[in-house]
Symmetry: D3
Subunit: 295 residues, 6 copies
C-alpha cells in the first residue's frame, strides 16, 4: 500500500508525545525467543532500539540464548537433566553457556552497530556488573516435602553495580547484556534473563521494562488468543495468578514485572515479539501489542 | 484511511536515516506566507520544529509578518510608498513594524511552548544578535541610469553575533527570530526575512536552510505548476535566472539560497508552505516537496 | 565642580564593600515611570545596570509601559474603561498592549547593548517564563457587597519558571522582562509590573527588589516630601498601612515588597526614579534615596 | 628470605621514577602463551595490570587464545588445515573461535575485577572498535611463484575507532580486548593478537607496547638462551632479520614492534611471560627481562 | 644485600592493597624532629610524600621548626622565657618565628619539587587558611590555684578554611603548611604544629593523621623501648594517660590524635621519624613502626 | 569636601569603560618603595588590588623588600659589599633575604585577606614557579675591560611555569609573589623584583605591567619634576636612554617595560607609588599619574 506524504507525516507527528514522554528515560528490553531467531524480526527489534537511542531514550538490551545453547550442547553430545524446569548446569555445561552467550552477545552488538547505533556487549563479569550466588533447585517429594537439590551453576543476582552501564549510556552507547553473573570466586552463573532485565531496570531507575515473548500477552482465557489483557495493575497480579487461568510459562514473567514495579520501575510490558516492530509500536504509538503492568 | 500497526512502524523506521543524518545539526527555517496565516498549517509547521528538536536537531525559526504589518498600517491610516518593491519605511512606519513583529514573534514562541517545545523570541536588538545599516533604494531613470533613493529604515545585515543563539540552542531552546536588525544608534532596521534566515544559517554553520513559500517550488516552466525543479546545483543558478523563466518573486529567494551555500550551508530548500508538514516531509522522508539547492 | 584624583579614588573605594556584599547576587529592578520617559534618566538607569553586571552582580529588569500604551490606544481611537483602577482589557486592547510592550522591551535591550552590556528581551511567553490566569475585577456595590467583574485579559501570576532566566544570567546577559504572562491557551495576560518583579525576585532567590517610582519614597507624612521613611520592617507594614497615612498608589507597591520579603528576598527598596543614578547610589554607596523594607 | 622494612621501602622508592615517567600514559600489553595457561603466572600478570592502573597508568590488554581454540576444535572433531602458518578459518571454525575467545575475554575481565581492578571485555564488534577485511593466504609454488589462497575468515585490520577505549579508560576501567575484528557485513574476522595490540597502541597514542612471549627475548644466537639482545633500534631490525639469526616465530613479533614504533608508539618490548611479574619488572624497575625496541 | 627481581616484584605487589585502600584519600603528616634535621631522613620523608601523591593519595604536610627558631633567636641575642612549656612570644620573637618558618616552609616545598612532586608552601595567612586567637599561658600557684598569664603571640586555632587546600590538592599539588595562624588584625600567631595538623586533618575530612616523633611510639613501659603499643583505641586514651605511665611529651600528641579521631579522622599514628621511610612503611606495608590510634 | 550623591555616581560611571576594558585581563603590579613602607599607602595599594579583583580583573603582585633586608642584615652585624649596584649575596645573606622576604610576602597576603580579598603568598620555590641561574657581576677595569665577578646567589630567571598562577587566579585568589627564584639544586636566588614582575606578566600573557616607584615617572628633564613624559612608545626607548637625560635608577625599569612589551604585554606603566591609589587612578580613570609605555 502506498501512503501519501501527509499520512506519513501524521505517523511521525503521532510519535511526538511519546518521544517527549520518554526523553532521557531508561528502557530495559528483554530480548529473546522468535525475535532472536528470525532474521527479519531481529533486524526490526534492533532497529527499534537504534531509533529509540536517536530520539533521546536510553535503551538497554538483555538477551537470552536458550535454543543456541541447546544446539551446541547437542553437538557436543552433552545431555542435560532438569530440576523443576531449571537445567542442572555443571561446570562443563556452564562453559558452553558462556561460550554461546558470549558469542551471541557480541553478534547482537555488531548488528546494532551495522544498523547505525553504537553498542557494547557486557556480562556480569565486566566490572562486576552484576554478581550472583548459587541458587538451589527445588523439588517436592511424593508426600509434599520441599527438597533442595544442587543444580550447579544456576545463580540468582545478589547485587547490580550500575556504574558501568550509566557511564556507557552517557557516552551514547547501547549496552547489550548477557545474563551471566559474576560469582564470588570469579566463576560465572547462569541466570534467568527476564530476572536480569528486571533487576537492571530497577538498579538503573528505569522507566520501562519490556519483555519480548512468543505469545500475544497475558490471556484472560488461555484457550483464546484474542483474550489479551491489555493492562493489569501490579496489585492485581497475585489474585490473577491464583485463578490458575495463566499459563505456567507466563507466571515467572509476570512475577518479574511485579518485582520491577515494586523496585520503582514505572511500567512493565509483556509484548508479542513475533510482531514486527512490537517495541516501537509500544513505545511510539497508541497501539497496544501485549500486556502492560502498571502501578 | 486506517493504517495498520506495521505500516505505522514502517514510517517511523523510514525516518531513522534522516534522524541520524541531521543529529546535532542546525536547520534554519524561514517561516512566512500562508503557513503563518492558516491555523492548521501554523500548528503543523511548529509541531514539525518541536519534533525536530526532540530527535536531536537544532531548528532555528526566522519569521516575517508582512500581512499583519499592512493590516496595522491600514488601521492607523498610514499609507506606504514603494521603491523597487521595498517599502519606504519612515520612523513611524518602523515603529509599527517593530510593534507588529514583536508581538508576532512572542506569539510564535508561545505556540511552540504550548506544543511541547521551549522557544525564545529574539530580535537583532537582543545582545546585538545581528546589526544592520541603512540600505539605499534603487530606481532606474528613463534612460537607464541607476538612482539611489532614501527609503528610510530598510537595512542590510552587517554582522551576525551568533553567541546568544548558540547558548540558547545548547540549553535546549528553539530560537524564534524577528527580522529587525540593530542599527548603529540602537534604532531598528527592517530587513528581508529570507536574508536574515540565510545569514543566520551561515553564521551558525547551519546544515540546511529551508524557505517556506506559497508556491510549489522553482518551476522550469512558470506556467506549469507540475514543472517543479526538484534539485538545482548552486552553480547553475545564474544561468537559470538568465533564462528569464523564473518568476520575479523567486529570484531573491534563489539568490538567498545561493549566498547561503556559498557561505557554507550544506543545502537550501524552497518548500511549498501550503503543504501540511512540508518541513517534516523534507527532513524526515524521501518525499520531495519543493526545490533543493545543492553545492 | 572638578574633583581631584584622590577624591575620585575615594568614591571607588567607598563602593568596594558594596561590591563585595552583592557579588554574585541577583537584584531585580522594576523599571518604570519618569525614569523610562526622560532620556537622561533612562541612560543613567541602564548604565547603572551595566555597571552592576560588570562588577559581578546579576541585575534583572522588569519594565512597565503605561504611558506608551495609552498613547497608542488613543491614536487608534480606542477608549478604556476601568474597574477599581484596573483597565478592562479586551482582546483588541491586549493586542495593543503586547505590541507596545514588545517594542519597548527590545528597545531597552538595545540601549543596554549600546551602553556595553548584553541584554535579552523576554516575556512570559518565552519558554513559559511566567504563566498567568484571569484575574477578576472587584467593585463594591452601594451597600458594600463585593462584586466580581470580568475585566478581560488582566492576569495574575500562577507560576514562574526561572530556568531560562538562570541560563541567561549565567551566560552573562541582563534579562529585560515585559510583564506579559502566558495564559493556559497561549494567550497573553497583562500583569502589574511591580508584581512580576516581586515574583521573579522570589523565584530567582533574589537578594534585592528595587522598585523605581516617581516619588521620594514612603512618606510618614504624605504632605511632607521630606518625611521619607528610610527603613521599615516588613512586620510593621500592615500597621503602617492601617494608619491611613500612606498614599493610595504606594499601598500595592509596599504590599509587593512585603510579599517579596515573605518569599525570601533579603530586602526591597522603593526608590525615587527621578534622581539620577538612584539605583547605583542605593547599591554602591551609603546614600539612601528612598525607603528600604527589611525583614 | 625475610626482607627488612628498609629493604621493602627501598624497592618502593626505586619504583617512583618509573611511576612518574609513565603517569597518565597508555601501555598496551599483548597477553598470551604460558602466562595465560599457568594460574600463578596469570594472577601475576593481571595483578601487575591492576597495580599499573592504580598508580596512574592506563593499561590495555589484548589477549590470544590459540590453545583453548585448538582444544575446542578437537573436542568437536573439527580438523584444521594451515596455509603458510595461518589456520584456514571456515565459518564453522570462526564460530568456535568467537565462542572460545568470547568466554576467555570475560574470564580475564572477571579475574581482574577480583584482583581489585575494574575491567571490561571488548571485541572489534563492540562499537566497531576495530574493523577488518579478509586477508589472503600466500603460498609459493615449486618455481617460486606467489599464489594467493582463500583461507576463510582470517582478517587484517582496516580501521581502529579508539573512542570507546578512551571513554572506558577515562572512567577508570581496564579494557580487555579479544582479537576479533568486525567485518563489513557484521561477521567476525580472526586477527593475529600481536597485530591487534600494535594497531591499538598506535591508535591510542600509546607509550609502550609489551608483547608477552614464551622465550627469553630476541636472541643474538638462537642456540644460546643467554644471548638476549636487551635493546635494539627500530632502524636496525631489517638488517638483523636479514642475518637469518632470528627464529621464525619471532620475526612477525619484531615486525609488529617495528610497525608500532613507526606509528608513534615510544617503545616496544618482547618479554618473557614465563617470568613472574615480568611486566611489573619491566615497567617499575631497572631490571630488563627481554628485548626492548627503541626509536 | 642484592634482591632478586622476583623479590622486588613481591614488595610492589604487597603495596597494592594499601594503594587501593588509600586511593583518593587525604593523609595529613606532621613533619618535625630528627626527620627534619637529618638530610637522609628528610629526603626519605619527602620522597614518601611524592610517592603517595603519584599513587593517588593526597598528602598534606604540616611542619614545625623549633630548633631553627632557637638558633636564630640565639644568634640575635634574644632570650626566651617559658610558661608551662610554652615560649613567651613577644612581637619581636614572633617576627623571628615567622621569618624562620617562612623560609623553612618554602625550602621544604623546593625539595619536594626537586624530588619530582609539586608543592606549595602555605600559612594561616594565605587566604585565611586558619585563624587564631591568643591563648593564655597557665601556671599554678604554690597553693594550686590556676593563674593565667600573658604569653604573647601564642595562639589556638579558631577556624580552618579548607577551600584553598582542596583547590591546591585537586590541581595536583602537595600543600606544605607552616603553623602560623592569622590573627584578627592580620598578625601572626605561633601555634603548636601537632594541633595544626590535627585540625587540618579534621577540616579536610582526612583519612589518616601521621605525627612523626623522635621516639619509638607510645610505650607501655616508658623505661622499655621495646614496649611500643602498636594499637590503642581512642576510648582507652584517657584511662591510659591516667596511669601516668606515659611520658609528658607524648600526652599532648596523644590528645591531639584523640581530638582528630573525634573530629572524624579515621586513624592517627605516632611514628618514629628516625626510621628511614617510616611513613611509607606505615602506609604501604604490613610493617608497624609506631602507635596507631583507632576508633 | 563633601560630594553630592550625583557626583559620587558620576565617578563610578566614569570607571565603567575601564572596568569593561580590563574585564578578565591579567595585570601584574610590582609593589615596592614608599608604598610598602607607609601604612596608609600600603592599605591604599592593596585595596586597589582587591577592588580590581572584585570587578573582574586578575591582579598579580610582585613585591621587593630591600629596606627590611638591610635592617635585618644590620641587626645581625652582617655587612654587604656591592658590585656594580648588585649586592654580593653569600649563602648567609641569602638566608636572611629568604627569611625577610618570606615573612613580608605572607604579611602582604594577610593584609589583602583582611581587606576582603583572598591572597596566596608564593615564591619561585613553590611548584618551580620560576627558576633561576647564577648571574655574574660585571665590573670594568681601569682600561675598560669587562670583568665578571662572582656575586653569589644573585640570579636571573631561566623559566617561568605559570600553571600554578593560572590555577590560583582561576580559583579567585590574588597571587603575591616574592622575587626568590628556584636554583638547579633547590637553592634560592635573589632576583630583581622588577624583572620578576616583567617576566611573569609575559608568561601569563598579561595585559598591563605596573611598576610602582618613588618618583613622578620618567622625566624629560631630570631636574624638573613637572616634566613627566606621560606616554612613550617602546621603539623610542633606546634613543631616549641614549640622550642621557634619564636618571640611572630609571634605566633598568624602562628596559624592563620594554622587555615586557616585546614579550607581548600590552602596556607598561611606571607610576608614582607615593600618590594614594595611584594604581586605581591608572586603571579606573582618565587620570595619568606616571609614564606609560605603549607599543
Amino acid at each position: 500500500m502506498v501512503l501519501t506524504a501527509v499520512e506519513k507525516a501524521g505517523i511521525l507527528v503521532e510519535a511526538l508525545p511519546y518521544i517527549k514522554q520518554f526523553y532521557g528515560k531508561i528502557i530495559v528490553v528483554k530480548y529473546g525467543g522468535h525475535a532472536m531467531l528470525n532474521c527479519e524480526l531481529k533486524e526490526a527489534v534492533l532497529t527499534d532500539l537504534v531509533l529509540m537511542k536517536y530520539v533521546g531514550m536510553h535503551p538497554v538490551v538483555v538477551h537470552g540464548g536458550g535454543p543456541e545453547i541447546n544446539k551446541m550442547l547437542k553437538r557436543l553430545g552433552k545431555e542435560s537433566s532438569f530440576v523443576n524446569g531449571l537445567r542442572v548446569t555443571d561446570a562443563e555445561t556452564m562453559e558452553i553457556v558462556e561460550m554461546v552467550l558470549g558469542r551471541l552477545n557480541k553478534e547482537i552488538a555488531a548488528l546494532i552497530n551495522r544498523l547505525g547505533g553504537r553498542a557494547v556487549g557486557l556480562w556480569g563479569k565486566d566490572a562486576s556488573l552484576f554478581t550472583a550466588v548459587k541458587r538451589p533447585g527445588v523439588v517436592w517429594s511424593a508426600d509434599g516435602i520441599k527438597i533442595e537439590q544442587d543444580i550447579g551453576l544456576v545463580g540468582e543476582i545478589t547485587t547490580v553495580n550500575p556504574e558501568l552501564l550509566f557511564s556507557v549510556l552517557k557516552q551514547g552507547y547501547i549496552p547489550v547484556v548477557a545474563p551471566i553473573g559474576l560469582g564470588p570466586d570469579g566463576e560465572g552463573y547462569n541466570i534467568n534473563a527476564d530476572t536480569v532485565a528486571g533487576k537492571i531496570a530497577e538498579a538503573l531507575g528505569g522507566d520501562k521494562l519490556i519483555i519480548l515473548t512468543d505469545v500475544e500477552g497475558i490471556l484472560s482465557n488461555p484457550q483464546d488468543k484474542h483474550s489479551v489483557i491489555s493492562k493489569i495493575k501490579v496489585g492485581e497480579i497475585p489474585a490473577f495468578i491464583a485463578t490458575g487461568k495463566i499459563s505456567g510459562g507466563m507466571i515467572p514473567k509476570l512475577e518479574c514485572c511485579r518485582a520491577a514495579l515494586e523496585g520503582g520501575v514505572k511500567s512493565a510490558h509483556i509484548l508479542d515479539g513475533r510482531v514486527l516492530h512490537a517495541i516501537l509500536l509500544e513505545v511510539f504509538t497508541d497501539e497496544g501489542v501485549g500486556t502492560m503492568v502498571v502501578p
